[in-house]
Each structure stands twice: as structure tokens, then as C-alpha cells.
Amino acid sequence: MIKRSFVVFLLLVLGVAVYEAFRQAPFGQNRIGNVDHPQSVSAFYLKHSPETLHTANSVTAIVVNFRGFDTLGEVTVLFLAATGLASILYRRKEEEEAAEKGHLPQRIQLPSSVLVRTGAKILFPLILMLGIYVFVHGHLTPGGGFQGGAIIATGFLLMFITYKRFNVNHNVLIWLESLSGLAFVLTGVYGLISYGSFLQNTGWTGRLNDLISGGLIPLIYIFIGIKVGTELTNVLDTLLHTKPRRNE
């Protein structure tokens, strides 16, 4: 009890300190400054996203173009997490059988109702289509590769929890993931060779608000979308299906 009240007291002190610190940056105050003659990073991005890159969504322009290298690192972190997850949860066949004989509670294996199964069957292609739409239009509308990939993974999650026997082809997933990651890096190398800087965008960037605009930005975001979608599906598959797969 004393420990808990001490924790609460400590957290209150911390909360007041953090809150007061952020009060110094008043909510809703304009800290961007003049966009036409940028003095801050934000103003620079807001100026050059439509003018130089012809990318409607300036958040996408930052994530994929201005900070593209950062995003490559981020994709790598996600990849490492997925790999780590798979290797931590990996089980040999004997271990699996031993666990099933023991008193470990297994996943409840009730079949889903007809409504759920039919609904999932109808919704699954629509969810996939929404996900693809979101990452193809990442440079025009809110959303992008990460969001689209997450939407695709939710479609697969729906199928996983509705159909117990639903299986994804692991080799296809792994190949798609590796190839899109490789394509991302190769796009960066293309910029390095042609323009002298890694992940440098092309000179031709199209017209603002066209589907094909922004140079390499839509291309990279499509690669990221495929990569994140397959990766998250892989993670879900590993978390839900503890049984060893046939090819292992």
C-alpha cells in the first residue's frame, strides 16, 4: 500500500511537470512561421511539398521523400520485429506435442456462425481493395503505405479468426515482403546513381493532385504498403497459429 501510494505521488509530480513543460508551447499557437520565406523546417516542407515535389499530402512527402532514409530504417525495424517474433515463438514439433499433452489451455475451437463466415467472405476482398486504395493514393489523400498495409492485415485477421483452417501461403508472403523491401532499396540506389544522393527523387514530378505525380513517392509507398501488409499478416499468422507449419 505504501509502495502504491508512493508510485501515485511520484506519477502526479511527473504529470504536473510534463503538463507544465508543454504549457510553454501553447495549444494551437502558430509556430510554423511564414511559409513563403521559410524559417522553420515545417514551413520549408509546406513550401516545397507542393511546389517542388508536386505531392498533395505533405506528410507523405516528409515521410517518403524528405525523410526517406528514416523510413527505410523504420521498415527495417518492423522487419526485425517480425523476424524476432517468429524466432521467439518458434517451436519444434516435440515441444508442440508436449504442450498439447500438458494442461496448457488451447485456443477455443468453436466454429464461427454462418453469418460471420458469409460476412467475412464478402468483406475480405473489399478490405483488401480499401487497403490497396489507401496505399496507392498515399500521396493524395490521408493514409499511405503503413496504413494501407495495416488495413490489409486486418482483412487477413478477419479471415484468420473466422475460418480456423484459413491458411496463407508462407512462401508467397516471404517473397513478396523481400522483393518489395529490395525494390525500396533499389529505388534508393537509382536515386544515388542518377542524381548523386540516396533516395533522391526524380526531376519529373508531374502535376499536383494527379494520380501519377510526386516522382518516386507513390512507387515507394506502394512498395512499403505491400511490405507492411505481408509483414503484419505474417506476424498475425505467427501469433495465432502456434502449431508448426508443414515445411518446418
Binding site: G15, N30, V59, L140, P142, V235
Partner: protein, 130 residues
């Protein structure tokens, strides 16, 4: 539209309390869970709560009163001086993905511990050998 903007301007201090306050509250609730709770899954939930709080705080700092989303949709091509800060949004986009990766990895470690020790309670995980 202008009526809406007036209302927003009028309640700016209240909005500040709501946004910053809820963000700090989320961080504190998450830290409380991490410090006090004994169940490992609750600990992971606490970590992801801290994550959400920090993200909310970032986006809140980037908000500018009466400004719109930083997307140059048709009709907004020249509205660059009427947009909120895009940099915190891009950072939070990164942070959400990393947060997901961290949560997934932590949960897999919890599953592994549970398989080995048949419990996810920190108090009973006192044998530091496998």
C-alpha cells in the same frame, strides 16, 4: 464555417486542457500499469498506453488553431499558410509503427515466458534460469 472557427477560438484554453491533459493522463496511466501491475500482459498494455499518450501529445503540439490538414487537395493548393504542422504528424506516423513492432515483440516474449513458466505473473517468475 466561420461560426465553427469562432467557437474553436473561444474554447482554446479548454481545448488545451483536454488535449494536453488527456495525453499526460494516458502517459501516467501507462506508467502506473508498468510500475504496479504484476501481470505481464497488463505491463505490455501499459507500455502501449504510454505510446498513445506520447503520440497524442506530439500531434497536439503540432496543432494550429483554425488551420486545416496539411494536404493540398483540390481547392487547397495555395492554402499552405493555413495548415497545421506536418512534421509532428510524420514523426507520429513513424512512432506508431515502431510502437506496434515493440508491442508485438513484447507480447511474443510474454507468450514465450508463459509457455515456459506456466504463469505470466512477475512475482512468480523469480527463477532467473531456463
Amino acid at each position: 464555417m466561420s461560426n465553427y472557427q469562432e467557437i474553436i477560438s473561444q474554447y482554446r484554453p479548454l481545448l488545451e486542457i483536454i488535449v494536453y491533459g488527456s495525453a499526460v493522463a494516458l502517459i501516467l496511466i501507462g506508467l502506473y500499469a508498468v510500475l504496479v501491475k504484476k501481470h505481464l500482459v497488463k505491463l505490455v498494455i501499459g507500455l502501449s498506453l504510454i505510446d498513445s499518450g506520447v503520440n497524442l501529445l506530439f500531434v497536439g503540439v503540432g496543432y494550429v488553431t483554425n488551420h486545416t490538414a496539411p494536404i493540398f487537395s483540390p481547392g487547397f493548393e495555395t492554402a499552405a499558410d493555413k495548415m497545421v504542422d506536418p512534421v509532428p504528424q510524420a514523426l507520429v506516423l513513424t512512432a506508431i509503427v515502431i510502437g506496434f513492432a515493440v508491442t508485438a515483440l513484447a507480447l511474443s516474449l510474454v507468450i514465450r515466458l508463459y509457455r515456459h513458466h506456466k504463469t505470466a505473473n512477475v512475482e512468480q517468475l523469480n527463477r532467473l534460469r531456463w
